[in-house]
Each structure stands twice: as structure tokens, then as C-alpha cells.
Symmetry: C2
Subunit: 453 residues, 2 copies
């Protein structure tokens, strides 16, 4: 129920807006069905890349490294001599990186390490009955793969978000793949960050072929057990295909999104800046704002029109805002019912009362509390992870954390005496499920008084 | 390298075996490539049910409850009046269940509760920098679905394995679907166990239509966020399809499997009983045994031929054994390198030295230590979960545990003072990634000295 039309119109009359509307539609006085319909994300295109990805997997399986080199020439326009990046190149990149950036990365790294170290689960061990011991032991996934996209704006921060929990979990082998698309090599910020994280196994391969290589293995790249990291539609489709080969992936993919709840204690210019920082990610970014009164909506829209002009990516951001919405909802409980139904990837609570309101959160990836906590602090450096569930998946998935890099393996031991009481229970239940051999495995032990080979 | 042929042949000469060979092939003196090739599971059939499942989802979406009733008549040959099972029926089943079975279930339930309660993670909270607080809070998935297959041998034990951790995690709504295939209703052991676990929302719908209903929602059955539980190929395909609708599933499916490591301190008759208890699950069950010398292999095969005759499911078990193998490997480290590469769902260490050997485990679902710890104790009652990763997925997936029913949501708060140091770091990193609006969200807060709306 778009009630901000007059506002947009009056603005347009001023003539200082180009053809793209830079304000967000405002919805108010919604019925339940109108409100909860607004959790819907835009339909993602059905993935029609299956034939392409199947061919890439087939070629990488058949031709291995040589095929990786051919694809790199074909797609990245780079002739590479070796697939692996030698360790000296990592060290060189580390030495050459801007000192201020290096210092910033070290602070971020330290915060991320502290928070993820604290997440490391310990072994659970107890006797459930006399003589029956059960243990749950966290064991790191042995070999994991990290994919980092290329381009001119390298996502080196994502290396921190994936390599640090992998290291803390205790993964023995951490592989990084990224395309050589910066002057014929991997961007030095990526190499330097990999070095700082202690990654030594870096391959200058990108796209779906990199995922195929990590999933299938080639002469140079040994198969991994789980693949992490963002990527374009080809990379995403390849991660899905990898599951057919027994290789797990971090989580389902979707466009990045933020939901801001702003009440009367918010600062509208901050909220506007937060909405824009999500919008600049790309035209498919999802930006939603729930406000406790209509005046806040007006203030936020005014601030957006001010701030957007200064952005290098302003056209991208303006385009993303066309699909964005501001919902006016005075009732806090109803507002949070909507927010939990939406299940946002990033959820900012722009309120002096944020810590109390945060108690109402059920479904979200990462929550930013208060007026001094923009999403960007979590994107980079507060310590939380920025690899988070999108597209409503926050209702069933966690963001990446230390758990994502380990399994909790259970162990049990039973003493001869312990088996007496436990065994009776097992026999009754197994026979009720008509699994006689299951019962027999207990009976043969209970009956056997002469223990020898 | 099949070296047990003479053994099978001599046995066949005795004439007391029917056409099915009841002994397991023995492999010894394997090269590395021969040994590690034996981690391969039989190829699973490519899922060709997509058209069927797509139609089921489409029909359930369009026609809702009425379609569920039609499918129940068509597939289960039962005309149901209501979709939901009323709570009185659950209570009646509980009252009518065999007392001995009820007592056994209560012991199992108590053990499973103790072990899963101990797994419940706590909130992690720390300051990563002065004024920067990060929190990781476990929050239960609000609404989960459990599927339990029908038939004459009801898997009531699986209800314990799924409902108990869901309850402990704190899931508000737990839904159970199972087909009415026992005299036109759900098997009373299933209803009684549901009652004992505190499940009140039970629907007498089975197959892919039950999964479609939980994934899409109908008039009677509200959509869930995650679906758990075993099932046939239709159920499995439907769980995969559910992901297209934003509904998660427990783990990829595959045939059940056991790997037994038996050294000179094993009891061969126990090992035989354990191998048979896996084999009786079905012809596609995977049964592997690694032994430290050839004599043990011979003893185990002898014991199998003895024990299999007594099994009601002996033909099923014998058929499964045809695909089974015993590997003789004297070197413990090499044996465990193979076992970790195989990544068994169930791993029994039949040795007096089991607890030490268990330290070598990297990839397994659940581990059974010592000569008095058959797999069946964990299948029912020791306290560990029996919903475990198969088909090599133990290298990247945990079995079902309390974590599977919750998300770890992160929260962060930053004070105005805390943002000064943290903000500088964020600005530098955001600008290096060319995300100016991300930097601006910090700058606007740092610059603004006049905090008001």
C-alpha cells in the first residue's frame, strides 16, 4: 500500500532528480496478509546453467590441469604457466601491501579470531547409564576449499571470514582459489590476506572450473570435502553440482540484504547510510526498513536523496532502491513478527533500546544493535562473520562460524556390566522394529560367558 | 584382490548353502591404489523422479488438503477423514502399547535426553575491542518437520532421535508426518512414541506428498523451516525439492553402512553379528570389515555362515553381503587411513584397545568402542543419535544433534567511543574493496557530533 507517492511527486517537480527515483516506497496501515506478503523476495531466475556446468565438470574431470589452463585463457584471458601460486608470491604481496591497509586487516583479524576462538566447542562426555559412556567430539573437516571472486574490488575481507574459523576449527588443509584477473594475477590484497591467515595453498583458477577442480581433484588440486565462499551464478551452480560428487557447501546462495528497524530514537541519516551501504552491493540487493512512525520514513527518504548523490556507485544503489520498501508499523510486536517472518541476513536495530528489542529476534543472520553499529562494522572488523544466510534461509541456517568447519562425531563405549541393563532395552526395541539381527548383536554378547577369540 | 575364493568354494562343496553366497570377500596385500579404491560406494541411481515430484508439489500447492487425501487413497489405499491425528488417539496409543516396550522406550528416551541436553550450546559473548561487543546466541528453529515411514516395522526409534533434540533445542512447533499404513492408521508404536516425546501435531500423511505439504503448507499443515527423517526414494527426492522452496533438510541420503575394525583382541562371533545387523537393513546396505590378520577374516566368515541361518531376513542379509568386503591390513595407521578415507556412517572398533584407536578417527558418523558395544546400542538406546551421514558424507557432515535444530545468530553492539578505533579500520577496508557507502555508514557517525533525529 504505497502511500509515499505525493512525496516522490513533489520531489520530482523540483527537477533535480534524474530518471531514477532515489526514494524508497513507503507502506503503511497494512493488513496482515499485505504485511506478511512483503517478506517475499524477488523470484530468482531458475538456474539454467546446468548444461554448461555439467560440461565444465566433465572437462575438468577428463583433462585436469590442462583444462583449467584452457578455461583460464578462455574466460579470464590469462595464459598461466602454473596453477599453484608459489609461496614467495604470497610473501611478496604481503610485503608490498599498503601499510595502513595491512594494519587495518590485522585489527580485523584479531577481532575475528577472538570471537571465533570463543565459539570453539569442547568435547561433551557423560555416562548416560552405569557402564554406558557417550562422547561428542568436535573434529575439524580435514580439507576445505575457499573461493574468492576476482575483479578490481577484491573481497579480501571474505578470506578473513572463512580462513580464520577454518584455522581455529583445526582444518589441516585450507585451499584458496581465485581467478588471475588483476594484471594477469590474483589481486595482491587477496594474496597478502591469504598470507596473513597462514594459507599456503593458493591456486590462480576462478569460476566454475575452480569449484569443479576442488570438487573432483586434478593433478595439482586435491579434492576438498567442503567448499565455501561467494561467487557469480556460475560459481553458485558449480557449488550445487559439487554436492553430486559428495562435496558439501557452506549454504544456499541469494542476493545480499539488510533490514533496518528504526524507532523514534534512531538517527535517520545513519539509517539512510546503512540502507545505501546495502544498496550499493548491486541492483538485486534487498533493502527493507521498518519504522515505528511515518515521520521517520520521510526523514530517511530525505537523507537518502541527499547521500546517494555522493556515491561512486549511485546508479547501482538507486536501481536497488526501486525494489526496496519502508514499512510503517507502530506496534513493536507486529513489527518483529514481520521481521522474523522475513528472516533478514543483516538486521540493524536503530534504536537506543536495541539490546532489549534484540530479545525479540528469532530469525536473522547477524544483528547490529544501536545507533553506532552499522552493518559495515560486521562486514569487516567487529569480529562477527559476514558469510550469512540470505533469501529467508536465516530461518533454518546459521551464518558461517567455527562449527561450519568441523563435525561433531559421537563415540560410545559400553562395559560388559553396562550391556546387561542397556542390552535388554535394545533387544525389546529392535524386536519391535522387526530387526532381529540388531537384537542378536546384543544377545550373543549377553549369552557369551566364555570371552575369547 | 579377492583371496577368499578357496574358502567360499570349499564351503559350497559342503552343499549346505543355497545359491546365495553367505560369506564376505576377503582382500589382502593391497597396493595403495587398490586399497583406497575400496572406499567407493556403489553408484546410486541418478534420481529420475523429478517429473513425479514436481507434479506432487504442484498438486499439493494447488489443491492442498484435498489433494493430500486423494494421494493417501491412491498410494496408501486409505480413505482418511481428517489429516490431523487427534490428541486422544496419541494418548490411546500410549495407553495401549506393550508395557515392556513402553519401559524400554522410556530408558532409551532418558539416555538420549541426557546426552543431547549436555550438547546444548550456550551463548558466547565477549568484547573484541573496547566498546565492541560480539554475541553468538543459539536460537531454536521455530517450526520443524519430522517424517517417519510407515509399514509393518515402524521406525519409532527415529522419533526419539529427532523429537528429543528438537525439544531440547527449544523448537516451538514440532510436526510429525507418517502414512496411515497400519490398519488404516499410523502404527500405534509411532503414535505412542510421539506422545511420549510431547509431539501433539501429527498428520497421517506419507510419502512425497507429506514432504510437499510440510514444505509448501496446506490448510491443515503449516509450512516448516526444516525437514528431518528417513524415507524411500520419493521422500528423499521430495526433501531435495523442498530446498527450492526455502525449506532445509537434515542431510543428504544414502544407504546405511557399517565399518568394523577388528584386531586380535576382537571376538569374531560378535563382529559377525554386527556385520549381519547392518546387512539385514537391506540389499543396498554397505558392510565393510578391516582386520589386522587373515585368520580373523576366516573366523568372522565362519561365524557369519553360522549366524545368518537363524535370521528372518536372511535372504536380504545374504544379498547385502555379496557387496561386502573384508580387508586384511596389518598396519594400524594404514588401516585407519583407509577407514578415514571411507568415512563410515557407523564405525565399530572391535578391540580391547578401542579407546586408544578411537583417537585416530577423523571421519565417521558414530563410533562404537570395544567388544561390548554393538551398533545396535547406538541405534536405539545408548544416548547417541542414529541419524547419521552415509555415503562418505561423514567427511563433511555431523550426525543429527542439538545443533541441527538451532541457528547460532550473531549480535554486535558498538559504543560511540568504540566506533572511533573500529571505524577507522572499517573505512580503510571498505575503501580498499571500493565500497564507498560501507565506509560512509561509519563516517557519518564519526563526523556527527550533534546526535539527534
Amino acid at each position: 500500500m504505497w502511500s509515499g507517492g505525493h512525496f516522490g511527486d513533489s520531489y520530482r517537480k523540483n527537477g533535480d532528480l534524474n530518471s531514477i527515483n532515489k526514494m524508497i516506497k513507503v507502506y503503511s496501515n497494512l493488513t496482515d496478509s499485505e504485511l506478511f506478503a512483503l517478506v517475499q523476495r524477488p523470484q530468482m531466475e531458475e538456474n539454467s546453467l546446468d548444461a554448461t556446468i555439467t560440461e565444465v565438470f566433465s572437462n575438468v574431470k577428463t583433462y585436469g590441469d590442462e583444462q583449467l589452463k584452457r578455461y583460464t585463457l578462455q574466460f579470464d584471458k590469462v595464459q598461466i604457466l602454473s596453477i599453484k601460486v608459489d609461496e614467495k608470491s604470497l610473501f611478496d604481496a604481503y610485503n608490498e601491501i599498503d601499510l595502513q591497509l595491512k594494519a587495518a586487516i590485522l585489527v580485523a583479524k584479531s577481532n575475528i579470531e577472538k570471537f571465533h576462538q570463543a565459539q570453539l566447542p569442547s568435547t561433551v562426555s557423560l555416562e548416560t547409564m552405569p557402564g554406558v559412556k557417550c562422547i561428542q567430539k568436535p573434529i575439524a573437516i580435514e580439507r576445505v576449499g575457499i573461493y574468492i571472486p576476482g575483479g578490481t574490488a577484491p573481497l579480501f575481507s571474505t578470506i578473513l571470514m572463512l580462513a580464520i574459523p577454518a584455522m581455529i576449527a583445526g582444518c589441516k588443509e585450507i585451499v584458496l582459489c581465485s581467478p588471475p584477473t588483476f594484471n594477469g594475477a590474483i589481486h595482491p590484497a587477496i594474496l597478502a590476506t591469504a598470507y596473513m591467515c597462514g594459507i599456503t595453498e593458493v591456486y590462480q583458477i576462478g569460476g566454475s572450473q575452480a569449484v569443479a577442480a576442488m570438487a573432483l581433484g586434478t593433478e595439482s588440486i586435491k579434492k576438498v570435502a567442503k567448499i565455501f565462499g561467494p561467487g557469480n551464478q556460475y560459481v553458485t551452480a558449480a557449488k550445487e553440482k559439487a554436492q553430486k560428487y559428495g562435496v558439501a557447501m557452506d549454504m544456499p546462495a541469494g542476493p545480499s540484504e539488510v533490514l533496518v528497524y528504526a524507532d523514534a530514537t534512531c538517527v535517520s541519516t545513519y539509517v539512510a547510510a546503512d540502507l545505501l551501504s546495502q544498496a550499493e552491493h548491486g541492483v538485486d540487493s534487498q533493502v527493507v526498513c521498518v519504522v515505528s512512525n511515518a515521520e521517520i520514513a520521510t526523514q530517511i527518504n530525505l537523507a537518502i536523496t541527499d547521500q546517494i548523490e555522493e556515491l561512486p556507485r549511485k546508479n547501482l544503489a538507486a536501481k536497488a532502491l526501486e525494489n526496496s520498501l519502508i514499512i510503517v508499523e507502530e506496534d513493536v510486536d507486529r513489527a518483529f513478527a514481520y521481521i522474523n517472518a522475513y528472516a533478514p541476513e543483516h538486521f540493524i536495530i536503530a534504536s537506543d533500546n536495541a539490546e532489549n528489542l534484540a530479545e525479540l529476534v528469532i530469525n536473522a543472520g547477524s544483528v547490529f544493535m544501536g545507533n553506532y553499529c552499522p552493518e559495515s562494522v560486521g562486514d569487516y572488523a567487529s569480529g562477527t562473520n559476514h558469510t550469512l544466510p540470505t533469501y529467508g534461509w536465516a530461518s533454518s541456517y546459521s551464518g558461517v562460524n567455527v562449527d561450519a568447519f568441523l563435525r561433531k562425531v559421537t563415540f560410545q563405549s559400553v562395559t560388559r556390566e553396562g550391556l546387561v541393563d542397556l542390552g535388554k532395552v535394545v533387544i525389546i526395541m529392535a524386536e519391535a522394529e522387526q530387526l532381529q539381527a540388531h537384537a542378536n548383536a546384543v544377545k550373543i554378547r549377553l549369552m557369551d560367558q566364555n570371552i575369547s577369540k
